[in-house]
């Protein structure tokens, strides 16, 4: 069943703040095997002009995708999450995420399309810091595979 086009443009309330910790950044950097000192050593980060350690570029996805859960779980939208795979992901940064940030995410449905039996939902997550300044925008394309489709990946 086609998703309701009237959901395009709908925004969800901002999430409660997520506080970015140095050790969470370290844990993530270690999990991807990245020893860039900007992620691990506050002094090295400061030498690059950052006030504290910064997070790897894709770190923020854990926060933005959790926020997108509001869209995915919206019973009125009716997305079948058991059939959803991650199609595309994009980030645009005003500045890197850094330790000490308290980040909120506002999710908006940018587009809903039907293609080849699949339902495609584009979600934009605007990530702001405690001062209300923009940090990063995350665009996530979710593809709910039709019954006949084999494409895609989670």
């Amino acid at each position: 069943m086609a998703l309701d086009q009237s959901f395009v443009g709908r925004s969800y309330p901002p999430t409660d703040p997520y506080e970015v910790g140095r050790e969470k950044i370290r844990e993530f950097a270690e999990a991807v095997g990245d020893t860039n000192p900007a992620y691990l050593d506050p002094e090295a980060a400061k030498a690059l002009g950052h006030s504290d350690v910064i997070a790897p570029p894709t770190f923020v996805f854990a926060i933005s995708f959790k926020a997108a859960g509001q869209v995915i779980a919206d019973p009125q939208l009716g997305l079948d999450y058991s059939r959803v795979v991650h199609g595309d992901q994009k980030f645009a940064y005003t500045r890197p995420v850094r330790a000490g940030d308290r980040l909120t995410v506002t999710s908006t449905i940018e587009a809903i399309k039907s293609m080849a039996g699949n339902e495609i939902v584009d979600i934009r997550g605007e990530v702001h810091d405690e001062a209300g300044e923009h940090v990063v925008t995350a665009w996530t394309k979710l593809v709910a595979r039709g019954a006949d489709s084999e494409e895609g990946e989670a």
Binding site: E27, F28, E30, A31, V32, G33, D34, N36, A38, Y39, L48, G49, H50, I54, P56, P57, T58, F61, A62, F65, K66, V85, H86, G87, D88, Q89, K90, F91, A92, Y93, R95, P96, W139, E150, G152, E153, A154
Partner: protein
């Protein structure tokens, strides 16, 4: 932001140092914990096969995280990455053995943009197949 590469030093076509990243089942468990993505297709072979996958596959976001390292290792300061996007086209299949899989990443400067920015196009492969499409970063150089 203090990229160690200067805009005037690079031309279109310049290749970034290519890298190969190993990924085993243990890597995926560690990434699941760090990222909070506990989808069983990334650690449970039985479940993965039941939903039609050949085997356990890597998190798409793990592959995305590895691919950008070719850019952040090049610039030194990861904050030089001002835009980054990918399309997940094929899964990285990770067998349950000591070898696991490898993710091979190469990149080149595809365009010089305004304000000392360049666009880097990444080629990301595993087992000889492209696993990411449209993998591009906009990078602020010095």
């Amino acid at each position: 932001m203090t990229a160690k590469i200067g805009y005037d030093e690079v031309e279109v076509g310049v290749e970034l140092p290519a890298q190969t990243f190993p990924v085993t089942r243990a890597t995926l468990v560690q990434y699941a914990g760090a990222s909070g993505d506990f989808n069983p297709i990334h650690w449970n072979e039985k479940f993965a096969k039941e939903v039609g996958l050949p085997d356990v596959i890597a998190h798409g976001m793990f592959t995305m995280a590895e691919a950008i390292r070719v850019v952040t290792d090049w610039t030194g300061d990861p904050a030089a990455v001002v835009e980054y996007g990918v399309r997940f086209t094929k899964p990285v299949v990770v067998p349950n053995d000591d070898q696991g899989a490898t993710i091979e990443v190469s990149g080149k400067v595809a365009a010089k943009l305004d304000d000392n920015k360049v666009r880097v196009d990444l080629t990301v492969k595993s087992a000889g197949q492209k696993v990411l499409g449209m993998s591009r970063a906009v990078v602020q150089l010095g």
